[in-house]
């Protein structure tokens, strides 16, 4: 059944959108990431304008992260102090990001920059994950013990403005979580992603947070950053499609339930290898689209 999306100004099959939401929800349930990094390019592939795909993914992310963060909150796995510091950086980053995005729209380069950042980011991320999962897999076969290196002292312990984070049992400079928040906030605005896939490894390896505290804290602050991005995109660029976001969210909620059950049955490295392959396929498709000679060399845009 075709549904007219009022902001995207295209008619798309509502069933396809539900399935898409469910598929991304399923993956995020299986792998424990927000799924925004897959949702935005998939929306672009099915014909949603780039700018609307980015802004609407942020809106969908609000719902997805509320749902996920609540589950972690109930288990006491959210470091509020850390989340608030990252949030401060994140809000500044999202204001900056929406401004950058508006600038790109004005110069007609938004589509290119979004596709390019996705292809590069997903390509690098997919390769890293693939290498890591294959290594773990081989180590399991040899029967070596897996020893994650935790909390190494490095350059960031020399930074000023140190603060104690009780929940995470850390005493570090607030500049690091602030900077991390800013980076993720900017990404979130320009690319429509929550940034979980950058935030989570950085919180574990860079900040040295206990692994149990990471997903909840990350999701908790993503709620606010994605909410801020949604409002800013709506006001600044008018690109949030509420109808699209709600359809995706309904599908996503169902998919996430199924996904988390399915994910519990798989081994960690199998999961990560599968995710790596999906990520790489999306990256290659986006990269190919940019290099193949377009059907039309001229593109048109209506000025409001």
């Amino acid at each position: 059944m075709d549904i007219y999306l009022p902001i995207a100004a295209v008619s798309l099959d509502g069933f396809v959108l539900l399935i898409l939401g469910a598929a991304v929800g399923f993956l995020s349930g299986v792998f424990g990431v927000g799924g925004g990094f897959l949702l935005t390019p998939l929306l672009i592939l099915i014909g949603v304008p780039h700018a609307v795909a980015v802004a609407t993914s942020a809106n969908q992310l609000v719902g997805a992260s509320v749902s996920g963060a609540l589950a972690h909150w109930r288990r006491g796995h959210v470091d509020i102090a850390m989340a608030l510091v990252m949030l401060t950086g994140g809000l500044a980053g999202s204001v900056f990001g929406v401004w950058v995005f508006a600038l790109l729209l004005r110069f007609g380069q938004a589509d290119l920059v979004i596709s390019l950042s996705y292809a590069v980011l997903l390509g690098v991320l997919g390769l890293l994950m693939l290498v890591e999962s294959v290594r773990t897999f081989l180590r399991h076969r040899r029967g070596d013990p897996v020893q994650p290196k935790l909390h190494a002292h490095n350059w960031m312990h020399g930074l000023p403005f140190k603060m104690r984070f009780r929940r995470s049992k850390l005493y570090i400079s607030i500049l690091v979580p602030l900077g991390l928040g800013f980076l993720v906030g900017t990404l979130s605005a320009v690319m429509g992603v929550g940034g979980g896939f950058i935030m989570v490894p950085a919180m574990i390896y860079l900040l040295g947070m206990p692994t149990s505290m990471v997903p909840g804290t990350s999701l908790f602050q993503i709620i606010f950053v994605s909410a801020a991005v949604t409002v800013l995109q709506a006001v600044e660029n008018g690109t949030v499609d509420l109808v699209l976001a709600m359809i995706l969210l309904v599908g996503g909620v169902i998919g996430a339930q199924l996904g988390s059950r399915f994910g519990a049955k798989l081994r960690g490295e199998q999961l990560r290898a599968a995710l790596a392959v999906i990520v790489l396929v999306v990256a290659v498709k986006l990269a190919a689209d940019m290099t193949v000679t377009p059907d039309q060399l001229y593109t048109l845009e209506i000025l409001q």
């Binding site: 809106n59 290119l112 709620i223 509420l242 109808v243 290099t291 001229y298 845009e301």
Partner: protein
């Protein structure tokens, strides 16, 4: 439901024409025309619509109709191959571009209207005046952008380069059917009816036609535009509530 609507639409011009027949077109009104409907309502399942234009002249002559959609500014961008990828490099902004354009004529255009008159009244896509805003590109390049714009709009079905037919009933009553595609832009259209005699435009009449979205979609779109902040807050709140409800079944897990 649809059958009845069609019947009413067909009937309206007939009633009008019947009242016209005894000789309502007087000497001081050489041309009289109207539409079967002045509103096209776009709903969720809209697949296009037709409007019938009908009218009468005070004697022999030819009729040309020019349909123009609401004007807006458009940017045309050109992609070039740069470092292995395709990137937008040059652009031209055109002002006052009609969002819909179609021409109808009772006889082949060139037989009844000489080129200068066609140009003056912007009859035909080739005579459509598209004003480029200040640009550093030379005129031949601007012409490429202009052609690209027209080609694109033709592909979308909103510009028609084929001249539509106007049927005469006798030598005074005429009728034409204007078909709008599902992608028809919204706004106020102007339908210009020109009476042609001996290669000159004797008189003209312009009739408005409103194309408008109706229903929930239209309200959402309008709200998002005029109350952007509230719309953004509602978008966030509804997503958050949906997320909260979704987490409830897992409370005890």
């Amino acid at each position: 439901m649809r059958a009845r609507a069609t019947k009413v639409r067909l009937l309206a011009p007939l009633v009008f024409l019947a009242s016209l027949w005894p000789g309502y077109v007087q000497a001081d009104q050489p041309l009289l025309a109207d539409l079967s409907s002045h509103l096209i309502a776009i709903t969720t399942g809209f697949t296009g619509a037709s409007v019938v234009l009908f009218g009468a002249t005070d004697g022999p002559g030819d009729v040309v109709i020019v349909v123009r959609g609401p004007e807006r500014d458009m940017v045309v961008r050109h992609k070039s191959h740069f470092a292995g990828i395709w990137i937008n490099t040059r652009q031209v902004t055109f002002s006052g571009v009609p969002s819909y354009y179609a021409v109808f004529s009772s006889k082949p255009l060139d037989d009844i209207v000489p080129q200068p008159v066609q140009s003056l009244h912007q009859i035909g896509l080739a005579n459509l005046r598209l004003q480029p805003r200040s640009t550093s590109l030379d005129p031949s390049e601007v012409a490429d952008f202009r052609n690209a714009l027209i080609d694109d709009q033709r592909r979308l079905g909103v510009y028609d380069d084929e001249v539509g037919r106007i049927n005469f009933l006798g030598d005074r009553l005429f009728r034409a059917q204007v078909d709008f595609p599902a992608t028809v832009p919204t706004g106020t259209y102007f339908i210009e009816v020109l009476l042609i005699r001996d290669g000159n435009v004797v008189t003209g009449q312009t009739t408005p036609l409103v194309v408008s979205q109706v229903g929930v979609d239209a309200e959402v779109g309008e709200f998002a535009e005029h109350r952007a902040l509230i719309y953004g807050l509602i978008a966030v709140a509804s997503a958050a509530v949906t997320g909260y409800i979704a987490s409830l079944p897992f409370r005890n897990a």
